[in-house]
Each structure stands twice: as C-alpha cells, then as structure tokens.
Amino acid sequence: MRRRTAIKIVALGALGFSGELPLTAWSAQTYQLRFFTAEENAMLEQLMDMVIPADAHSPGARAAQVSLFADLMVATSGEDIRKRWRDGLKLMREEAARSSLVEALAKASAHEEHPTTNLEHFFAALKRMTVNGYYTSEIGIHQELEYQGNTYLLQFPGCAPPAKTAS
C-alpha cells in the first residue's frame, strides 16, 4: 500500500508464497475455506460485522465477505499467526458463552490503545483484518468511501472541493 514502508517486508517466501502470483481475484462464489472451519467462519463473520456494520450509508463487513479475505490471509501466514487466530476465536467463544458475543467484543476492545490480555490482543488483530479487508473491497471503496479516483484525468483541477454535506 505504501511502498516505502512495504519494502521492509523482504521475506515474502516465509509468508507462504513465492514466485508466480495469480493475478486474478478470487471469487467469493467459488471460494473454499482454507483455514477456518465453517463454525469459526460464521463467528468471524458476526464479529467483523459488529466492527464495521451495515448502516444507512452502505453495507457492512458481512456483505463485503471480509471473513473470506481473512481466511486467505491467515491460511497463507506463518504457523504462529494461524495459531493466534484459532486461539483468539476460541477465547471469544468462551467469553461469549459466559455473557454474549456483544459483551465479549466490548470486553476485548476495552483497552484498545494498550492491550495486555490475549483477548485484547485478538481484538487488535480482528480490527486490523476487518479494516484491511473491508476498505479494499468493492463495497468499502465504492459504496462506503465513494472513492472517486484511480481514473484518467485530462488535467488536475487543483483545489475545487464540493460543499460540506449536511450530515
């Protein structure tokens, strides 16, 4: 995303892929889970949709199928990262069993700036993955942020912003 920081990541091979990359997007219709179980995926979908829900403006993380993006990223990550996700979802399930998923997520996010417990660290990973998946999806880019760029302009207009919206 930002090359000057991204170039520090040199050991791509260690992340589970090397050489030729398929340059076509995966299709959600045909996507088979590679790491999460169906049960884990269902819970992840719920959690991600709580982090970025549908609202009057646009659909949320569930509609954007962010959990499938998470599955691909985690499946192609190292052993330690895969374990953290599996353990984290288990922790959330146990916490939710004592109260509810809503309360479990609230507890996990309580010290977002300085997470200490495993549950709190899991929230950080969950939010990062949700943000990364949602705002790079068609829904996130075109419907939620209404991004107007990635196009060909004949000239740059300079500073000619539209008026503030009423919201």
């Binding site: 995303m1 930002r2 090359r3 000057r4 991204a6 170039i7 520090k8 990541i9 040199v10 050991a11 791509l12 091979g13 992340l15 892929f17 090397s18 990359l21 398929p22 340059l23 076509t24 997007a25 709580m50 982090v51 970025i52 829900p53 609202d55 949320g60 691909l72 990223m73 997520l105 996010s109 977002e112 700036e113 939010k127 943000v131 990364n132 705002y135 790079t136 068609e138 880019i141 939620e144 942020l145 209404e146 991004y147 760029g149 990635n150 196009t151 060909y152 302009l153 004949l154 000239q155 740059f156 207009p157 300079g158 500073c159 912003p161 539209p162 008026a163 503030k164 919206t165 919201s167």
Partner: protein, 538 residues
C-alpha cells in the same frame, strides 16, 4: 559470445540508462547487462483495484513483476537498526517505481566537512555539476519552477508545475506563519506532452509504475534512444557474477549468469561501467576477487562496501478539519504536488549537522490509513472513518544520514543466491548526529501539524527508520585515496577502465532525493569516458 565491446554497462536504471544512451550515441559499441527483464507498461498493475489482487495489495503484489527470482530473499541484515534497502530486477531499475522527485544538490551539500565539520567534502563542486543538471533535466522532463532558494538551486527549463490540492493550500498557510517555504514539487513527470511522452493523468500510482510513461522511466526513455543508434546490445536476464581482470589488474569483461538458461557466459569489454545500485554494486566488486585484487576489485584500501547510508524517515498523517465531512472528491493527483525544502538552517545553529526536506502527500487516497488508529468499532466508528477521509494529508520527511565507515555492505561467502553468487549482508546503525537530527525533525513536523486544525497521527516510534529506497555511498568518490574508491568522474583509482556511476559513488548525502544527482554524475562520467576514448586514454 566472442564479440568484444567498447563498453559493458551493468544495470539499466537511472545511472545505466543515461550512460547507455550517451555512449552509444557517441559511437561506442555498448553491451548492457540487465539482471531483470523488460516489463512493458501494459504489464504494470498500477490501475488494478485492490479487490482484483489476490491479497488486496497487502503483500506488495503490484511490485511483484519487478521482483523476479529470489531478489527479495537473497540478502541478510545483521546488527542493524530499523532500515531496509530496495532491490528490484527489471529493465529501467528503480526508475520503474520511483516517485520521480528531482532535486539538485545545493552548493553547500558538497561541503559538509568544510561547513559542518563532519564527513568529507565531495571532490567536485556545484558549479562543476551544474551543466549536467541542466542537460539531464532537459532529457527527463522536470516540472516545477525557480523559487529563488539557495538551498534548492533551480534549472531554467521546467515543465509547468502541478496544480495544488486543497490540503496543500491549507498546509502552506501554516508553514507561511512559521516562515517555512513550501513550493511546487520538482518532479520528472510530463505535465504537458514531452519528448513523445503523454501528459500525466493524475491517478496517483507513480510508485506502482506509470502505465503511460508520463513519469520518466529509464526503460522507456533512455534504452530506446540507445537502441536507435545501432551501437547498442541489450542482454536481459543477465545477472553479473564477477568483473574479470587481466594480468595487469584492469577490467577485461564481465562474467554473468543467464537466469533463464542458468548458463554462465562472458562478455569482453574495454571499459566496464557498474550501475547496479548501492547494495548490488558493492556486492559485485567484493565478489570480483583475483590475485591482483584479493579483497575485491579496486578495494586495496578496504573502502568498497563501507559508508553505507540513506535517508532517515518518520512522518505524520494529518486529517484536516476544514476538509472533513466533504463529499468525496478525487484528490489522487501525481502523488506529491508540493515540497518543503530544508529550512532548519534558516533558524539559527543546531547541535547537529544537516537537515531534512519534506515530501507532502506521497500516498494513496484510496485506503483510509486512519481506520487503524481511530478508536472503537461499530456504526459510530464507521461514520467517523468516512467523515475524516477527505481531510487526509501527509508529511513525509527525508533527513540526512551521516556517511560513516562502520556501516557497510559485505558478502557472505557461506550463503549464496539461487545462482551460486554470495549474497550481500547489510550492517547499519544510526549515529549520534542522525539521532539528534531525527529528534529535531520529528519535533518540527509536530509543530507544523499543530499549526493546522486537524487530527494528527505520527508515523514514527521511538527511533528513526530508513532508507526510503535512497541507499547510497558504498563505492564512494573522494579527494582522499585512503577513504575513497573513485575520482570525481566515477573512475576507480586502482582500475582506470572501471567506472561506478550509481548512488554508491556518493561521498555524502544531503536531505535531497538522490536520483537527479545520480543521473547528473553519470552523465558527467559519460562525457569523461567519451573524451578519454577520443584521446586514446581508455
């Protein structure tokens, strides 16, 4: 390959491209070895939407076409601070993914020993290099204007500057209050049709490869010009293994691996010009050992590989309140439109040498970078991220790093790459001057940010990071034969038919982006080679 060439150039980037064009136009028979291959502009992934990429771009997929083979993994860092070097293998070298900011060194940037009491002075002056800056700017097409600043000398042939974004006007009001100049960026992008190149279409993807060639790319500008002379042969997928020498210790050719056939081949040449970039050039010389050069080529003083440095970084993201909540509009542009030249020297003496310049808005506008930093979750969080996004601006400073002998590139004889060539090992630690400069730089950035109404997120931690793809200095030129390898024409003192014209030839660095300086030095070296050949000296 029995043919003998007048010149063998290794590497086709900023330095190798201009060298190839100049020498072949001058009538020399030139062979260029490029470790990568041509990725045509139609093969760039710059305009691909993230959701069309397998990992949405988070694993640098847009750069994958430039990172052939094991180039990303065949390197080792040891005992180093948080730095990274940028190695790619592609025709055009890093000019395929540079941001194209094109700045001249100022007169004082050549004289840090005399003026600041650190490092060594360059063996040439601004006045000596000025005509080459003039010529290279006209070859590559640089937009901007003459702002009348001593710290940033200007040329006379700039293309029209790029119109400023709203955020840049707002930032300029803040810097003006602080008496810090903010100017139109000087960048090698065609803002009007130039030399057969179409004008920029303002997509913001400069660093993923310009798919129309509005941005200067050596592969699309210099290499075709060399090819039109009929004097030029290009070998792609040709990874140099060793520079070969004759009994007198002079270069006689280059041994290379064809990375597709895996066969080792040889090219014979009267002159060898090394343009593989700072890490690979040092690696090549250190891997070129012979009885006459037991420590590596032109390395009897042990300086080859030493004095590695680059730029230190660490900026801030700013979300301007004035622009928040606005209906989304297209701000992509040509990445940077403005630049804040070095200013710390305007405000009294410092307890460190050097300064920093600030690139503004060299980032994409598609992804909401603040979404990781805005607290909370749920509907309110989502709405807040959406509302802040149009206010995005970014200050990205590049600070001077001192050239010190204890920072180096070496080779690991026990670990080889996929082709059996010993890999480079990088060792780098920031020094006291670097740390003092970095502390002042971060304070100053926060002060600028505090002069606008905005939410501010620092992109730095407790220590500096580097090198912003600006690593230089490992085969330095200099006045002192004990502490340098090259003379001011990029010619090796110990091997008169060996030249090194990429960033590794830098004596020291200023805060300015290195590429225009590299190209001017390479152009000057090309003139010298032509002159020496005419006189029969080479």
């Amino acid at each position: 390959m029995a043919d003998t060439y007048d010149v063998c150039i290794i590497g086709s980037g900023a330095a190798g491209g201009v060298m190839a064009k100049e020498l072949s136009e001058g009538g020399a028979k030139v062979m260029l070895l490029e470790a990568g291959k041509h990725v045509p502009m139609s093969g760039f992934l710059s305009h691909h939407w993230p959701y069309k990429l397998p990992y949405r771009g988070f694993r640098d997929e847009k750069q994958a076409p430039f990172r052939q083979g094991d180039v990303s993994t065949s390197i080792r860092y040891q005992d180093s601070d948080s730095i990274g070097v940028d190695r790619i293998r592609v025709l055009g070298g890093r000019t395929v993914h540079w941001n194209a900011v094109a700045l001249r060194y100022a007169e004082r940037d050549f004289r840090s020993a005399e003026l600041d009491g650190i490092e060594e002075d360059w063996p040439l002056t601004y006045r000596e290099l000025e005509p080459y800056y003039d010529r290279i700017e006209q070859m590559i097409g640089v937009c901007g204007r003459d702002d009348g600043l001593e710290i940033l000398p200007a040329g006379k042939h700039y293309l029209p500057p790029i119109a400023w974004r709203c955020s840049e006007h707002i930032l300029e009001r803040a810097t003006a209050k602080m008496r810090i100049p903010l100017i139109s960026v000087r960048k090698a992008v065609a803002t009007v049709a130039f030399d057969g190149r179409p004008p920029c279409h303002y997509c913001g993807h400069c660093m993923s490869g310009c798919d129309v060639g509005a941005l200067f790319n050596s592969a699309e500008v210099m290499i075709p010009k060399a090819q039109r002379t009929g004097n030029f042969i290009l070998r792609q997928n040709a990874l140099a293994r060793e520079i070969l020498v004759d009994r007198e210790g002079l270069a006689r050719g280059v041994s290379f691996i064809d990375t597709e056939t895996k066969q080792e081949e040889e090219v014979k040449a009267g002159i060898v010009v090394v343009c593989c970039a700072t890490v690979e050039s040092a690696r090549l010389l250190l891997n070129s050992r012979s009885p006459r050069h037991p420590n590596g080529l032109a390395n009897s003083n042990g300086v080859v590989g030493r004095y590695l440095h680059g730029h230190l970084t660490g900026g801030v993201d700013i979300y301007l309140e004035e622009l928040q909540g606005i209906r989304p509009f297209n701000q992509d542009g040509a990445t940077d439109h403005v630049y804040i030249p070095r200013y710390n020297h305007l405000f009294g003496r410092k307890d460190y040498a050097g300064g920093w310049g600030i690139q503004v808005n060299y980032s994409d506008y598609m992804f909401p970078h603040h979404a990781q930093r805005v607290g909370g979750y749920g509907a309110a969080y989502k709405a807040r991220v959406r509302s802040m996004q149009p206010g995005f601006a970014m200050l990205g400073p590049f600070g001077k790093v001192e050239a010190r002998p204890e920072n180096y590139v070496t080779v690991d004889p026990h670990r080889t790459d996929a082709h059996g060539i010993p890999i480079p090992v990088v060792r780098f630690r920031f020094g006291q001057n670097d740390l003092a400069l970095w502390r002042d730089q971060t304070q100053s950035l926060l002060e600028i940010a505090s002069n606008v109404k905005a939410q501010v997120f620092p992109n730095f931690g407790q220590a500096p990071t580097g090198f912003a793809s600006h690593e230089v200095g490992t085969i330095r030129m200099g006045k002192n034969p004990k502490t340098s390898v090259l003379n001011s024409f990029c010619q090796a003192r110990e091997v008169k038919n060996l030249f090194v014209t990429d960033g590794s030839c830098f004596t020291t660095s200023s805060e300015k982006n290195p590429t225009l300086h590299i190209m001017a030095l390479s152009l000057r070296a090309a003139d010298y080679i032509k002159q020496q050949r005419r006189r029969g000296q080479l």
